[in-house]
């Protein structure tokens, strides 16, 4: 332990504690900008500089450690001047058109400039030439980038994708894609983690709210919305609502207020996915000698993009089942259209997702009919839907909950946990267990090994004598490690769930942003709590799903199910894919 004095307060902290953490322990919050705990501790912005007695130079609090007897001043004239100058310098290269910025009101730079009472800037504005606009789901504004390097770090260290990197030196230093010249040409999985880790508005999703509003306001168009499981764990955050208030039913009510015609729950198609995927797995397991294992889940389009771009040798092992979003889209434009007697072309199918990769997925050639009509027309991220609600001046906390529409509005608890890492695997195993053993496992205890935030989980289950070795990875860095181990033959599994975002969709790149905080560990328990409270716990028991098979699809893996609910993962290519 070492004892230090910070702003005249004495505090004793373990050795190797940073000045920042020691100050925090003393109740002093030193402002930081580029810093993100355990991810980006590089002292780049020089905002957290403090004065240490005995030294003339200032030192960053985020990545320098305290020493016995150190006397630190966080607000001395020198520290404050240095901090303010650095923020002014950053502002001199930042497009401060805050009123038209997606991050206005949730911007670290805006907060710090405000906190430091910066009312003018003596430095002339220097903005780089903007890049040509693009309709890629992920957009980078180089006039807003403050070179904090968080995106580079999360892309390289957490996701091990290395799409973003530092380019050039000196005044020309910037962040851009490496190897190629545009994001469209890169192997970007579209996990969107760079967005949720960006302190400012330099990175954002393509905003599709205008198109969605146009469809809603078009009297000829029937708008149908599906809401992904994980959205209910986070959508209320920007409104200051907890998950108990910000339920899927209240979000449905908000969407109906905006003018959406039908509101469905993606939990339904998550159940459908399970029935198809579990059947596929059991079918593959019957041919252990000829099939390649493990089988991988297919519900995360970020993972599918990553696999195709980085580990193409495993693409054949990805389940052919479409993601729940696309299964839902296919059902809306066929089964549901028939049910309501509407021309599918007059239906606009919109999904609310925690995800950017889903924006790319719905535009794939394999996810539309021959005339180019998409099964899912627009994908809005959780953030976009909150902007839509704000745009329509709706105060969601004031709205009563409304039931989802029938017949695709019913979902099971198994479908609900799809939004957390391990949830898809658990849902699939709940059903597989019943199918193989004829008995219902205890949904609250049997599969606990699959839950939690660990990046790479594994477990073995005995299904009536059949041993099933499974693994769950979330975050592409963990996926990378798992796939590398599989390739080397160090590990063997039968079934593997992979989600691109750390912690799964609850930590998705389209979820609300809280600067400096990893939200997945806080959001995932919501989904499990909801599951626990539900009566329906098994996907294959979902009456809406059963009705679909009875009335329309026939059996799982039937010809019609194959046509509507399955896809060819080779039916499109990533930029670098052979």
């Amino acid at each position: 332990m070492v004892t230090v004095t910070i702003d005249n307060k004495t505090v004793t902290v373990p050795e190797s504690t940073t000045i920042l953490d020691a100050a925090r322990a003393a109740g002093i919050r030193i402002p930081t900008l580029c810093y993100w705990k355990d991810l980006n501790e590089i002292g780049a912005c020089r905002v957290c500089v403090v004065e240490v007695e005995g030294y003339d130079r200032l030192f960053t609090a985020c990545n320098n450690k305290v020493d016995e007897g150190m006397v630190i001043h966080t607000n001395s004239a020198k520290a404050l001047d240095g901090r303010r100058t650095n923020v002014q310098l950053i502002l001199s290269e930042h497009n401060t058109s805050c009123t038209t910025c997606v991050r206005s009101g949730n911007c670290r730079l805006q907060d710090i400039a405000g906190d430091l009472n910066i009312l003018d800037n003596p430095y002339p504005l220097h903005l780089p030439k903007p890049k040509a606009p693009s309709d890629f789901p992920l957009i980078r504004d180089n006039q807003k980038c403050i070179k904090c390097m968080r995106c580079v770090q999360v892309c390289e260290k957490v996701q091990k994708t290395g799409i973003w990197d530092v380019i050039n030196t000196g005044a020309q230093t910037s962040v851009d894609v490496t190897g190629v010249y545009s994001l469209e040409d890169s192997d970007c999985a579209l996990c969107g983690q760079c967005i949720t880790h960006c302190p400012v508005g330099a990175l954002r999703e393509r905003d599709d709210t205008a198109e969605v509003l146009r469809a809603i306001h078009d009297p000829d168009i029937t708008t149908v919305v599906q809401i992904a499981p994980s959205v209910r764990a986070g959508w209320g955050e920007p409104f200051g609502l907890g998950p108990e208030t910000a339920t899927v039913k209240r979000l449905g009510a908000a969407l109906r207020t905006i003018g959406v015609d039908y509101v469905f729950d993606t939990d339904f198609s998550a159940d459908l996915t399970i029935v198809e995927e579990a059947s596929e797995l059991l079918e593959r397991l019957k041919h252990r000698d000829t099939e390649k294992f493990p089988m991988f889940t297919s519900c995360c389009p970020g993972w599918v993009r990553y696999c195709k771009g980085h580990f193409p040798q495993f693409v054949d092992q990805i389940s052919t089942s479409k993601s729940p979003q696309q299964m839902f889209g296919a059902m809306i434009k066929s089964y549901f259209a028939e049910k309501i007697g509407k021309d599918p072309k007059k239906i606009c199918s919109i999904s609310i997702m925690p995800c950017l990769a889903k924006k790319a997925e719905c535009a794939l050639p394999t996810m539309q009919d021959a005339e180019g009509n998409r099964d899912v027309d627009y994908v809005l991220t959780t953030r976009e839907v909150s902007r839509l609600i704000r745009m329509c001046h709706i105060v969601p906390g004031d709205l009563p909950e409304e039931e989802m529409d029938a017949p695709l509005g019913i979902g099971s608890g198994a479908g609900n946990i799809f939004g957390a890492s391990g949830g898809v695997m658990e849902a699939a195993l709940r059903t597989a267990y019943v199918k193989v053993t004829g008995e219902r496992p205890d949904p609250d205890h049997t599969f606990l090994a699959l839950r939690g935030m660990k990046g790479w989980k594994e477990a073995e289950f005995n299904l009536a004598g059949t041993k099933l070795k499974v693994a769950v990875a979330s975050g592409l860095g963990n996926a990378h490690d798992l796939l590398t181990a599989l390739e080397k033959g160090d590990v063997h599994y039968d079934f593997v769930e992979i989600m691109a975002c750390p912690g799964g969709c609850v930590g998705g790149g389209g979820q609300p942003i809280r600067d400096g905080a990893e939200m997945a560990p806080l959001r995932a328990p919501t989904l499990y709590r909801q599951d626990e409270a539900m009566k329906l716990r098994f996907s294959h028991e979902n009456p809406a799903v059963l009705a679909c098979y009875r009335d329309y699809l026939g059996e799982p893996l039937s010809e019609r199910a194959e046509e509507l609910l399955h896809t060819d993962q080779h039916g499109w290519k990533m930029p670098g894919e052979a």
Partner: protein, 610 residues
């Protein structure tokens, strides 16, 4: 008013002079990977500010060149701008009145021609081709990638054993390198921007002298794989050390009586005492590799047999054959090659030069070694004849100065013509032709014969130190690709078309430095391990102290002293004196810790394992 006055430097001029020196040091310490276009723009700006303003091309032209290069940088240039830059620079070069404009234009021409692709990359894509991937200058410059800031911080905490242990993770010859490494690590040391480079070699030497008895490294579980290392020099022994740590069964074949290669048979003991070398090798041998000395592979043992008996081979035979000058009288008695002399000294077979006049031919470090050895062997006079200027010598300046202090005389601009012999075939005199420094090619002026008569230097011995060759013939016959005597190997030390055969060190690069040979051994060890299907990691268990704060006040670099020339020139005992603890602590406090402060904390800083 006086007709003339004495010009004294005023304080303004003094400040400017200081700034010039600051800039000079700053440029010396430039890190690799900087943008050549941005650098050209900055250099040009300096050049332009030097313009007196009289002439158009310099006053105006350099400014317009700056504008054009700035356009390239800010993305507003066309591809044709590159041609315009080149044409404008050419025109300034041809029409400038004095060197200020002319040389500025020459720099731009060099840059735009040498980096045309980078200019185009900026114009087309707004980015640079270069990558700033190694931000810790000393680690990047060290071929073996030793964790220099790490061990310097340990020295500063007086943890000398830990410091040396950390070095051994990447370089198994810390004591040897502490004495004789050419220290490329110091060349771009960022401390140079403040005052001067850190004396890294001196600190390393200090640590090795104070480490006590080193703790052996843990060896990985035995793999049962057998590897033959051909040549027990620094490269072979480094490979043997790391491969043994990885658990492989290694045998080193050495054709001479003892291990060490050029460390023993090329470097005289006054620079590298034998006991230091012996104890370093003894430590390496604790890892358990087998040694067979006196076995010449290719002669005593067929290469094919060796390949059959072992899972992998590492060829590290060095460069131990001498080169001929090709002049009349070269076969005379008394003409001795540097290799021959140093080999004899290495085996403690000291020739007696008492009372002899000696002429050394050459200007490299080996020439200095033999010259200074000749002094120590009792020579009456030692003259070093070199066909270029003294400052063009490839020997380190301190080596040349040391030789002169030892009493050697440098005869610069003197090319050897022939060796005059006595009727019984002994050396009588060295005949030299004075030279004139000509045009600069490859950074050094080409010597051309001057219109001056030959110079006759009577002498008893001629020591020839004009480089070494590689005895690679047998390997060529076996089928290993040889290019101009050198074994051809990839940068990962594999040999084309010879699976399981690796090569590195002097036999691949030609005579180079110890640290490059060591690095080659390390690279080979990693890739042989991978070739055998393993991924053993070499790590260090040393934890580093907290990073110190420092205000970077400029302070003097601590240099090593040498024993007085009058004393040292009579023996082969170590010539250089090590640092005191006081000096080592002061010197280690100068390290800027580029692994923590600067880009190093973001990317490419500490490499904890390989």
């Amino acid at each position: 008013m006086s007709r003339l006055s004495i010009i004294t430097q005023n304080s303004d001029q003094k400040t400017v002079e200081e700034l010039y020196k600051d800039l000079e040091r700053r440029i010396t310490a430039s890190q690799p990977g900087l943008c050549p276009v941005d650098l050209a723009a900055s250099f040009l700006h300096i050049c332009h500010s030097q313009s007196c303003g009289k002439c158009t091309p310099c006053r105006v032209g350099l400014g317009r060149l700056e504008d054009l290069i700035q356009q390239v940088l800010d993305g507003s240039a066309q591809e044709s701008t590159v041609d315009l830059i080149e044409q404008t620079a050419e025109s300034i070069f041809l029409t400038a009145d004095c060197a200020i404009g002319q040389e500025a234009a020459r720099m731009v021409l060099k840059d735009v021609r040498g980096f045309r692709d980078d200019y185009l990359e900026h114009i087309r894509h707004g980015r640079c081709k270069g990558l700033q991937n190694q931000p810790v200058p000393c680690v990047f410059q060290c071929p073996a990638g030793v964790d220099i800031p790490g061990y310097i911080s340990l020295i500063h905490e007086k943890r000398y054993a830990d410091a040396v242990r950390l070095i051994r993770k990447d370089n198994p010859f810390p004591a040897v390198c502490g004495l004789i490494c050419e220290h490329p690590c110091e060349v771009r040391c960022r401390r140079t921007m403040v005052d001067d480079a850190i004396n890294i070699r001196g600190l390393k030497r200090f640590a090795t002298e104070h480490e006590g008895k080193p703790k052996p490294f843990a060896r990985a579980e035995a793999t049962g794989k057998r590897i033959a290392v051909i040549g027990g020099g620094p490269s072979g022994l480094s490979a043997a050390f790391y491969l043994s740590l990885m658990g492989h069964d290694v045998t080193v074949f050495e054709q001479r009586k003892r291990l060490g290669g050029m460390l023993r048979y090329g470097i005289p003991a006054y620079r590298l005492p034998r006991e230091v070398l012996d104890s370093e090798i003894a430590f390496l041998r604790q890892t358990g590799f087998t040694v067979q000395t006196g076995v010449s592979v290719g002669k005593d043992k067929a290469i094919a047999d060796l390949r059959g008996e072992y899972d992998a081979l590492y060829i590290s035979i060095g460069a131990h054959t001498d080169r001929k000058i090709g002049i009349e009288g070269e076969d005379a008695k008394g003409v001795v090659s540097a290799v021959e002399l140093l080999r004899a000294i290495g085996d403690d077979e000291m020739p007696d030069y008492t009372g002899l006049d000696v002429v050394v031919i050459g200007g490299g470090n080996v020439a200095m070694d033999v010259a200074r050895s000749a002094v120590r062997l009792g020579a009456k006079s030692v003259k070093i004849a070199y066909r270029r200027r003294r400052k063009d010598m490839t020997a380190l300046p301190e080596e040349v100065e040391g030789a002169i202090a030892d009493g050697c005389e440098v005869m610069e601009m003197m090319a050897p013509v022939r060796i005059e012999t006595t009727p019984d075939g002994r050396v009588a005199a060295m005949i030299l032709q004075p030279q004139l420094a000509g045009l600069i090619k490859g950074g050094r002026p080409t010597p051309v014969p001057a219109h001056l008569p030959e110079v006759r230097v009577p002498c008893d011995k001629v020591l020839v130190a004009i480089g070494q060759g590689i005895d690679s013939r047998k390997f060529g016959e076996y089928g290993i690709p040889i290019v101009r005597g050198k074994i051809e190997a990839f940068d990962w030390s594999g040999v084309s078309g010879s699976e399981g055969i690796f090569a590195g060190g002097d036999c691949v690069t030609g005579p180079a430095t110890v640290i490059r040979a060591i690095a080659a051994g390390k690279v080979a060890a990693a890739n042989i391990d991978a070739y055998l299907g393993y991924n053993h990691e070499i790590t260090s268990d040393v934890t580093l102290p907290r990073i110190r704060f420092d205000d970077h006040e400029p302070r003097g670099r601590i240099n090593m002293k040498e024993r007085p020339a009058a004393e040292r020139k009579h023996d082969f005992r170590l010539m250089e004196c090590g640092m005191t603890e006081e000096e080592a602590l002061a010197e280690s406090s100068r390290c800027l810790h580029c692994d923590h402060f600067g880009y190093g904390i973001f990317k490419g800083g500490r490499i904890a394992k390989w």
